[in-house]
């Protein structure tokens, strides 16, 4: 018989982690407090070196905290590390998977290490391979997988024992946009099925798309915490970004500004965008290259003329 569901499957109080000798100490995490509710996707957002991965490594029992305490699935990460490990699934940064093994072999090894009954191993492995769309590649060595396939296998490995709490450390870093969206859909599906997810990311869009609540960490300290809507509202009122095509070229900016002024629109920001190679790529393929702008608005109008993007308020 199991324990009743926890309100907060992940908690941390004053979590601290230092590295290095006393005279040259680096404070990677400096007093993190967290309360992740059952069934939510919690986004841990921050730049490289902010302390996201170190926090996750402490919560997943890989690293002992210098100070503070944390519980995962109701168990202390230091004194009950084994109970924590039985309850969580973890996909760490870089999808570290043995390239000499096949997807099938890795899932079978993972099942053995988690004590899945021998009779259930094959069926569970097949289910997970199908779930992440790797059935056809199951008997290929992982060294031949693409980055996206590795990530999906990594996710499947972390689900072998049907964990109730899942840690995903930068799961989409380095993935192409399509692979990223596929992984997002899988994370949402897992969450719908009742899995609590703590997801670290350096992508604002990812946190915005996936997370019910977000904590922003910088220099080892959580500087903001709340729902994406709350956090955005705290920064200021919404603004409107409109793209206006200029078939007559950049000289038409004056006309646009004059027209807006006549209508009483207060312009906060005005930016002239010229077509880029990314726009050429997008026009040719229907999607954008990874890391090329936000990917949400075209830099040109449909005819390829330069566009004025303006953010204004009446």
């Amino acid at each position: 018989m199991s324990d009743p569901p926890l309100d907060f499957p992940i908690t941390a109080t004053g979590l601290v982690r230092h590295f290095g000798p006393e005279n040259n100490r680096v404070k990677a995490v400096d007093g993190v407090d967290l309360h992740v509710s059952a069934g939510e996707i919690f986004g841990f957002l921050g730049p490289n070196g902010a302390g996201k991965s170190t926090t996750v490594r402490m919560l997943t029992t890989l690293l002992k905290p210098t100070a503070g305490s944390a519980t995962v699935a109701g168990f202390d990460v230091v004194t009950q590390a084994d109970r924590v490990r039985r309850s969580i699934g973890v996909a760490l940064q870089d999808a570290a998977i043995d390239p000499l093994m096949t997807g099938n072999e890795l899932l079978e090894l993972q099942a053995v290490l988690y004590g899945i009954p021998a009779a259930a191993v094959r069926r569970r492995a097949d289910e997970l391979l199908e779930r992440v769309g790797l059935t056809a590649a199951a008997d290929r060595r992982v060294g031949t997988y693409s980055g996206g396939m590795r990530r999906r296998l990594d996710l499947a490995l972390s689900l072998i024992h049907q964990p109730t709490v899942l840690f995903l450390d930068e799961p989409t870093t380095g993935l192409d946009p399509m692979s990223r969206i596929t992984l997002w859909e899988e994370v949402r599906r897992l969450n719908r099925e009742g899995t609590t997810v703590l997801l670290t990311t350096q992508y604002l869009e990812e946190a915005d798309q996936l997370a019910d609540r977000v904590a922003i960490i910088d220099n080892g300290v959580i500087v903001q915490q709340g729902t994406p809507t709350e956090l955005k509202a705290a920064v200021g009122a919404p603004s409107l970004l409109v793209s206006v095509g200029l078939p007559g070229g950049a000289a038409q900016v004056t006309d646009v500004v004059r027209a807006l002024d006549e209508q009483g629109v207060k312009i906060q920001h005005l930016e002239l965008s010229e077509p880029s190679l990314d726009d050429v790529f997008a026009a040719a393929t229907g999607h954008r290259l990874e890391g090329a702008g936000t990917g949400t608005e075209p830099a040109t109008d449909h005819e390829g003329a330069p566009a004025v993007k303006r953010r204004g308020r009446r």
């Binding site: 199991s2 084994d82 973890v90 093994m101 090894l109 988690y114 899942l166």
Partner: protein, 276 residues
């Protein structure tokens, strides 16, 4: 909670999903050993040196130093009978530290984190590679023996002599694996690799590896006399130099048990401290 659909991380397979039972020591070790064995076939470049080195060594030493058998009192008239067991022990040692190299690769790639996060007994992370190592050693010794016999080596005490050699080889590999794994855990990167090789090479050569103790002099004699690996080599050579006797066996066994205990404790301590 028993998983029935819908369940966390959805499944139709029924087992306790809120808390995995965790792998047993035997099953987890077997799984990890199997992984180690696969690498023999899939990464031969990591295995072949440990096999070729003792073959080359046995042939080269016995050919170069064939005249050593002319020394009065030398225990055999075939130089390869003297050097073949040494080569087998060397190959076994390098198979052992090979486990350390593999672990360094896992540590550097991050795969070892996945293994550490699994709720299986930590001892399986040492025992699994060790089982694979023992199988590799059996392959190495058997191959070196076949080559050695084709170059003129002869057993002087039949099967018992072979048993003594295999026991010595497995012992050296256990000592080396413990040492290699321990260094891998302490350093966490390839810095450990150089130390593994250097220390094992010196420990095995500062013995009666090349010549019997009675013709050694000075500081080398003193070190070789107290070096426990001298007893291990004595154990390994019995079946090639005369009869297997308890007098030449117990010292080697004691050295293997003692050194294995120390190096495996060092490995376990390093593993436990990885998260510090």
């Amino acid at each position: 909670m028993t998983a029935t659909s819908p369940s966390p991380a959805g499944s139709t397979v029924s087992f306790d999903s809120a808390s995995a039972p965790g792998g047993t020591l035997v099953r987890s070790s077997r799984g990890l050993a199997l992984r180690g064995l696969r690498s023999i076939v899939r990464l031969p470049s990591a295995f072949l040196p440990a096999m070729m080195m003792p073959i080359v060594q046995a042939i080269a030493f016995s050919g170069t130093f064939f005249a050593i058998t002319k020394i009065p009192g030398f225990p055999t008239d075939r130089s390869i009978n003297w050097y073949l067991p040494l080569a087998c022990c060397m190959g076994s040692g390098f198979s052992g530290v090979g486990m350390g190299f593999s672990t360094v690769r896992d540590l550097e790639s991050g795969f070892f984190d996945r293994l550490r996060m699994a709720p299986s007994p930590p001892l399986s992370l040492i025992l699994g590679p060790l089982l694979a190592c023992w199988l590799r050693v059996m392959i190495v010794i058997s191959t070196v023996l076949v080559v050695g016999f084709s170059f003129g080596a002869r057993l002087t005490d039949g099967a018992l002599g072979l048993v003594a050699l295999y026991v010595a080889g497995l012992g050296v590999s256990t000592i080396a694996a413990g040492w290699g794994l321990g260094l891998a855990y302490v350093f966490g990167d390839m810095r450990a690799a150089a130390l593994m090789q250097l220390t094992l090479f010196n420990a095995l050569f500062l013995t009666n590896a090349q010549t019997p103790l009675f013709i050694m002099t000075g500081w080398l004699h003193e070190i070789a006399r107290v070096n426990p690996f001298t007893n291990v080599l004595r154990l390994s050579r019995q079946g090639f130099l005369g009869e297997v006797t308890w007098g030449d066996t117990w010292g080697g066994l004691a050295a293997i048990v003692g050194l294995s205990a120390v190096t495996l404790w060092f490995a376990r301590r390093g593993l436990d401290r990885l998260g510090d």
